[in-house]
Amino acid sequence: MPLETGSLFRVGPTGDPMEYVGYAAGENPGEVVVVGRINPDQPVSEGALHRIVSPQILAQEGRKIGPFGEAFPYASYIAHQHLWQDQFPAVEVPYPSQALVDFLRQTKEGGITMFEPYFLPSATFTQEHIRMNGQTYSYPEEWQKPEDWFYKQIQEKKVDKRALTLPGGWVAIDTTLRPDYDNGNQQYPHDPLRPLLETLEKAGKIAPSAPGSRFGVSPDDQEAEVFPLIESTLNLPPNTITVPTALMFNVIGNMSHPEFGTASTYEWFADAFGGVGRLVGGSSGYGGLSSVYRSSSSIRDDYIGFRLLGRFF
């Protein structure tokens, strides 16, 4: 495997793991040395210590650890570990899969930068508390839980109780900012999905509220037309692309992306409601990150957009 910036490697079976930083001029003219950071389990900060290794020894005794590289540097993994463990110490963050890293590399090379790798721990978020890895936590002070209506629908079995759990694993979340409502003419800014949606629209397979828009595309349209086309374009296995559940949306929003709840529009969630219903939410006028409501999966509503989520677990 090539040694990219952000890769994790070791020299010899018991050597310290190091994060590859770059190369430098050696002592003799024309000589090059490889430079790695020897405390890669620390957050990126000034003063980190480095070690030099000769390329020849590295070629003979080096081993690459994990899938890390330019698309997903080891430092990003460490940042995620801190993000969770600072608030919920019981969380264990596994290495991401090679498939996720390949996906990020492929999308970035294609100029698609909206996907962010995100770890979601195996956890249950009830109305009262959070359970993770055998530990029970209270909600952090500023956490915006889903509104009471959501829990009530679960009690009444209109929404499956699995809506309260995260599956545990890495996903790629689409962080594109959802726009405010503008009579159905609103568009996600700089949306790389637009050409694909226009292709489907021209073929008469979907009918968005504005040309190439993510609004007015029903969950039925998404599953039948949009997600398969994205998967085939990106060479992904079927059922990799979906939208987040209401809980995933709420957790990622509270942990890292408060802007998810700042637009007046809604977005579709993956959770089913009743027979043919789907959950929607995120509208700033109705609670932002807390906002959850329902609509029908065949409705092409110009008030509701969608956010992609790649499942890699």
């Binding site: 495997m1 090539p2 040694l3 990219e4 910036t5 952000g6 490697f9 994060e19 590859y20 930083v21 770059g22 190369y23 430098a24 001029a25 490889v34 430079v35 950071r37 020897i38 990126v44 900060s45 000034e46 003063g47 980190a48 210590l49 480095h50 070690r51 030099i52 390329p55 590295l58 070629a59 080096g62 081993r63 690459k64 650890i65 590289g69 330019e70 540097p73 430092a75 900012l177 405010d180 409502y181 503008d182 800014p189 050409p195 694909l196 292709t199 489907l200 073929a203 086309l229 085939s232 374009t233 992306h257 408060p258 802007e259 700042t262 637009a263 007046s264 700033s284 006028g285 932002g288």
Partner: protein, 703 residues
């Protein structure tokens, strides 16, 4: 030492790709990559029979300079790539599909352009330069900061606007969440101000040293800003220049303070766009709209009787619609929240209508409880009713008008009682100075083609600079010991012929707009106003001193008009009018100026021509255009004088004195995951690292 072969930027005194390390990356492999792509991915699909059109293609491009041919080749290659992506998409979507192949004529055009050895050399050189600049930008901390600050601004702005809107529309009535939202919104406002200051500091580099590494990134940041302007212009026909954002903030603040803003400005200053944007920001809805006149009365503003086969009813005017959410007396409430009414040409209203406005200004918004009571037939305070319907929170008005003055004798000021309720906001044309070149930046954005490229020689575009070496007491010492010894300084006179045509044009446009403003001014003119005199032959000459102040009675020019001129430059060769087939941007601008002068009102015509002559806009294009190279993104960013120029540095001293580097120095690039390229080793020593992947070093994976 710089590479003379790649030195295409001497004119505006900077470089960014000539450090030893970066030069070492310019191995032949990169040039080969472009050659390989064109030979194997493009021209291999050339049809052996398709030689019929070659002669006509050669004739089409024969007269072009090497730079123009290379720019054209770039556009054609992007069109080829885009076409290929469409075909791949169509095939991926439907494997049975049989899309049309890439148009063979396009491939022939690429083949003809690429067959010129000079074009090949220039294309490869530019490609390598652009590739390295782009990589340096991606890896730089400053570039990442810019992107992160922008994302943060977008997110904070969205929260701030949502909070502002909720407060303006009285969406929250309970005291505790209301107070909390006020606190949060105030916090978001402060954060937004701080983030915008941070963004400005990145563009102008703030306190950071003006070494080439930093100024190069500031130039790339400016390029991104210009592409963003270009996108706004294409999509909305309006660009949110900093001065326009300032007016937006003033308008919103006036409405939040309970006053009705009146945007006062000349034709083409963008008053209506500003009013609409403020209305949408505060209410989420487009405003209703009244065109005011001396005969405007209650029927136009409040309600008018109508009759049809079903009987008589009232059609509500724009003010009632905005205030109550009802459209007529038959149908139910259409909008649940108040909207804003835009009163165009407010200054033309007669006294009767001003009285109506005064009355409406006294209305207060009803509460949800009062609306419920009214719906159930119970009375509510009369000052919360308009035309017997409850007034909704969020209702307000924004006026637009031309300034009162000799040019507009039918405009009058409202009486003092109403004036106290209004907030006049002056909407002038965008500024144009060396430090704040908004009109020039607007023009650069308008001149971009669909690939965000400007296929024009920098000599026709750029401001000009002179080199200034610092006296010893002003020299700057950087932490690594290098010495800043001089810098490029912009030539102060905007009419100096050494400035590019576009730069001079941007000042000429602002001077013309100033003269139009002064033509209606009721106040003393500023001392530095341009002046004119008439010689013995009756010819008008514009000058800095003496003569009379230059004023225009009827002639102005809007940015929309300029944008259409510049967009037309890309389409000129498609016109079958021989006059349109100009070779250079300068000639194209001259064609447009001649037409403009011809169509100008006779009372102003000679002054306008003299003004354009003052800026030498009818002078021939620069003579060395043939020597230009195509512009890279960074070089387009450097066109704006807002981007600091890199300092010249002394690389080392010698017994004979200071040795000057030929170009401003380029510091080592910042690695992706560390604060500095100079990293610390375990033994405490430091080392400079090149943060790049080693693709040739394949390691086995640890099991």
């Amino acid at each position: 030492m710089g590479d003379a072969g790649t030195n295409n930027v001497e004119y505006y005194g900077h470089s960014g790709h000539d450090s030893a390390r970066m030069r070492s990356l310019e191995s032949p492999i990169h040039g080969d990559a472009l050659r390989h792509y064109i030979d194997t991915r493009v021209l291999s699909f050339r049809s052996p029979e398709a030689t019929d059109g070659i002669e006509s293609i050669e004739a089409t491009y024969r007269e072009l300079s090497t730079r123009e041919k290379t720019d054209t080749l770039y556009g054609k290659l992007l069109a080829y790539r885009s076409g290929l992506q469409s075909i791949q998409q169509e095939t991926a979507e439907n494997p049975q599909a049989n899309p049309d192949p890439i148009d063979p004529y396009l491939i022939e055009e690429i083949g003809v352009l690429w067959s010129d050895p000079a074009v090949q050399e220039m294309a490869i050189k530019t490609y390598n330069t652009a590739r390295l600049e782009s990589k340096a930008y991606r890896l730089s901390e400053l570039g990442k900061n810019w992107q992160s600050v922008n994302a943060n601004i977008d997110a904070t702005k969205a929260r701030f606007e949502a909070g502002t809107r909720a407060l303006f529309l009285h969406e929250i009535t309970r005291a505790d969440p209301l107070s909390a939202l006020e606190g949060k919104t105030a916090g978001w406002a402060k954060k937004l101000i701080a983030l915008k200051a941070k963004r400005k500091a990145i563009t102008t580099l703030g306190e950071m040293p003006h070494i080439a590494e930093n100024t190069d990134i500031a130039a790339q940041v400016m390029y991104e800003q210009l592409t963003s302007y270009h996108a706004q212009l294409t999509k909305e026909g309006f660009v949110w220049l900093p001065s326009r954002e300032g007016i937006h903030v003033q308008t919103i603040e006036a409405l939040q303070n309970g006053r009705w803003p009146v945007l006062i400005g000349e034709a083409g200053t963008g008053k209506s766009e500003q009013a609409d944007a403020a209305a949408v920001a505060l209410t989420g809805e487009q405003p209703t709209h009244v065109i005011c006149g001396p005969k405007t009365n209650e029927r136009h503003l409040i309600a008018d009787k109508a009759i049809d086969e079903a009987g008589s009813y009232e059609e509500y005017g724009p003010i009632t619609q905005a205030a109550t959410g009802y459209v007529d007396s038959r149908n139910g409430q259409y909008y649940k929240r108040g909207r804003i009414v835009r009163l165009d040409e407010l200054g033309r209203l007669g006294s009767e209508s001003y009285s109506i406005l005064k009355d409406i200004r006294q209305k207060k918004p009803s509460t949800p409880d009062e609306q419920y009571s009214w719906e159930n037939g119970k009375p509510i305070p009369v000052n919360k009713l308009l035309n017997d319907k409850p007034v909704l929170a969020g209702f307000a008005a924004i006026g637009t008008t031309n300034p009162v003055g000799p040019r507009y004798p039918d405009r009058t000021e409202p009486d003092p009682a109403l004036s106290r309720e209004l907030a006049p906001i002056i909407v002038d044309y965008p500024p144009m100075s060396h430090n704040n070149p908004e009109i020039y930046e607007f023009m650069l954005a308008a001149l971009m083609d669909r690939n965000n490229h400007i296929p024009v020689s920098h000599m026709e575009l750029s401001p000009a600079y002179t080199q200034e070496m610092f006296p010893e007491d002003r020299q700057v010492i950087f932490p690594d010991g290098t010495l800043g010894i001089g810098q490029d300084v912009i030539i102060d006179d905007p009419a100096d012929i050494r400035h590019g045509t576009l730069y001079r044009l941007s000042f000429a446009i602002r001077s013309l707009q100033d003269a139009f403003n002064y033509g209606n001014s009721q106040e003393a003119l500023p001392p530095d106003v341009l002046r004119y005199s008439i010689d013995t032959d009756g010819k008008i000459q514009v000058q800095n001193t003496g003569g009379d102040p230059l004023t225009l009675e009827k002639t102005t020019i809007t940015l929309g008009e300029i944008a259409s001129w510049l967009r037309g430059f890309h389409e000129r060769t498609l016109k079958d009018d021989v006059d349109f087939q100009t070779n250079t941007l300068t000639e194209w601008i001259q064609l447009k100026l001649e037409t403009y002068v011809r169509q100008t009102d006779p009372v102003d015509r000679d002054k306008v021509r003299a003004l354009f002559d003052y800026y030498s806009l009818f002078s021939p294009p620069p003579s060395q255009l043939e020597e230009s190279l195509p512009l890279t993104h960074k070089q387009i960013g450097y066109l704006s004088p807002r981007v600091p120029r890199p300092l010249y540095v002394a690389e080392q001293t010698s017994p004979t004195g200071i040795q000057y580097s030929e170009k401003p120095a380029h510091a080592e690039r910042v690695p992706q995951l560390n604060k500095d390229v100079r990293v610390m080793l375990e033994d405490g020593t430091t080392l400079v690292v090149t943060p790049e992947s080693l693709n040739d070093l394949n390691l086995p994976e640890e099991s």
